[in-house]
């Protein structure tokens, strides 16, 4: 298109249309810069080092079973440990896992002491200067547990409706307790029974003292996996996705992690790990 044609076209547009066109041009330019920036990003030297040394360094806070913990023999175990080793297998590198306190995990990435954090880690969007985050491999949060023959299904859009006329068991003071207090103000007939621990609330469900419980997802999964008489109901509430963190300047490593996570999900490996450590799958 000749330039005079372009000028003529612009002159035929009214001012709102010109503003809209300008907005589109700016958006397109920003998009091009973004895409170009990704393509032209500087070399990922963390990825390069992993390739040359054939070692993947993983930081985990081994204080949170069943994700990461120290066994009686001093060895680390858990879903995060197995996941780290699975990543290492797919990358064909040796995995070295270091037990680092939770507060220092992202610092370990920033200081390049570790290549990855795999530690039941919830993405912190305030920390994007130091870290980038993978797709989730587990979604924590709150889960409802009901008797296996319960006909209702919790609806995340209006969970208080599901809760109406139920006797709901929760752990006193927990986020399940917080939610149940909110629901009790919205619907009639909801009775909340508070227990000292989440396990006590689940036992009360088995004993028929309550008709449903609302507890953290990890506890819920383990309990449902061990007891055929109960099942999960509805989706995770207040979801907290657990992700793998890389350094903010390791785009190639992050792409590889996401690629392998997708592979592990597709071939059932992740599902098997969740089954092994949590007692149930978590899609």
């Amino acid at each position: 298109m000749k330039s005079e044609h372009l000028v003529g076209l612009l002159r035929r547009l009214n001012w709102p249309a010109r503003l809209g066109l300008a907005a589109l041009v700016v958006t397109a330019a920003a998009g091009a810069l973004w895409v170009g920036g990704t393509i032209l990003a500087p070399d990922d030297r963390i990825w390069a080092r992993i390739q040359s040394e054939r070692v993947l360094r993983v930081a985990t806070d081994a204080s949170y079973p069943p994700f990461s913990a120290v066994g009686p023999d001093g060895a680390l175990y858990g879903l995060d440990v197995d996941l780290a080793n699975a990543l290492g297998d797919r990358l064909d590198v040796t995995v070295r896992i270091e037990n680092i306190t939770y507060d220092a995990l992202l610092q370990a990435l920033a200081s390049e002491r570790a290549d990855l954090v795999i530690s039941a880690f919830v993405a912190d969007l305030n920390q994007l200067d130091d870290a980038a985050y993978s797709e989730p491999y587990f979604v924590s949060g709150l889960r409802a547990v009901v008797p296996h023959d319960d006909p209702g299904e919790l609806d995340s859009l209006a969970p208080w409706t599901w809760a109406q006329a139920r006797v709901l068991g929760v752990e006193y003071g927990s986020m399940g307790d917080v939610l149940s207090r909110q629901w009790a103000r919205r619907v009639a007939g909801l009775t909340v029974e508070r227990y000292e621990t989440a396990a006590d609330a689940l036992d009360a469900l088995l004993a028929g003292e309550v008709t449903a419980v609302l507890v953290d997802a990890v506890t819920a999964h383990a309990y449902v996996g061990a007891h055929d008489a109960v099942r999960l109901s509805g989706p995770t509430l207040d979801p907290e996705p657990y992700v793998i963190a890389t350094g903010a300047r390791s785009p190639q490593l992050l792409r590889e992690v996401n690629r392998i996570l997708a592979e592990l999900e597709a071939d059932g490996t992740l599902s098997a790990l969740r089954q092994k450590h949590l007692g149930i799958n978590n899609d």
């Binding site: 709102p16 249309a17 809209g20 204080s63 039941a120 912190d124 927990s174 917080v178 990890v218």
Partner: protein, 368 residues
Amino acid sequence: MNVLARVAVLATAMLAMPRAVLPPLEVGPQQVVETQHPITCTHTRLTDEVEPWKILRTLELVREMGAPTVVEYFPWAYYEPEAGIYDFAAAELRIDLAANQGVGVVARLGGIVPSWARPQNADGTPGPDTFLPEEHFPDFADFVAAFVERFDGRLAAIILWNEPNIALEWGFRRPDPEAYTRLIRLAADRAHAADPDLIVLAGALAPTLEPEGSDLALNDLVFLERMYAAGAADVLDGLAVHAYGLSFPPDDPPAPDALNFRRVELVREVMARYGEGEAPIYVTEMGWNDSPRWTRAVRPGVRIDYTIAALAYAEANWANVPAVCIWAFRYPAPQRSYGDYFTLVTPEFVRKPIYDAVRDWAVEDLWP
């Protein structure tokens, strides 16, 4: 109207929307905190709160909980962006709204050093934001004096700096009690000159067992002893103290090698040795954590029980402790870490059961 024009109109409407939907802040009549336990206090986190209505809502909830006092943080760098140029508008809003709710403010001053007062890195950028070189100690004292003059008679107390016994708060240098004492001697003198009735507190020390010579931190009791030996008592009206319970119950006995709630009693012993046994102690941070993810946490119900028991214990057993402040009332946004499990109210202003329990303890017998 063609498509582009519609896009433009929509974009313009979206740009205008925030102004259209944000109501002006309506501050109601003067309120009074009604409480049967005036020791009840909490550390708010209004520093990074942007919207005025959220600041007001926070302080309303504090009042309704029966807490007549809050601790709030006023970072130096926020209020003196250029040397000698002060902008106290943000502090004014917070202190005015607290006064409207009948809540007294203990102002924690310091923390972030303005870039102009920090040392330069090799590349010319400002150094660590908690690094205050000694040549700039008088500048901090100037800031403290300006703050106190501005809020003359409207502050419950001020705190000079925070946790100077850990490297993180001391410019990533080895903590130095004598240097810190020189800093607070300058600042406290200026504060008292501006308002002779103001209660000036030393910055609370981080409870830690780190030994002498550590680059990370210094045992709080050792640090305090060296502060007093360097003459801190001459200028202070009292101390701010941090008293976290970690996984121990509130009546766990104090011991030099134990980090627990009653470590405050060991602080009092140090004060008494230097003739300060009757000076006030403000417990400006305390509490338990109920994160499932943190090894030093307790279960949520235990956290509630311990917190109430700690407040009652302090009230019954500790003389000259005007306030025991729960860390933290609410964060402006989720931290996505165990820190979220220290709070009483969520970022969305949902009250946690622990908030209701503290409120019940503080005010329940006041109402029929």
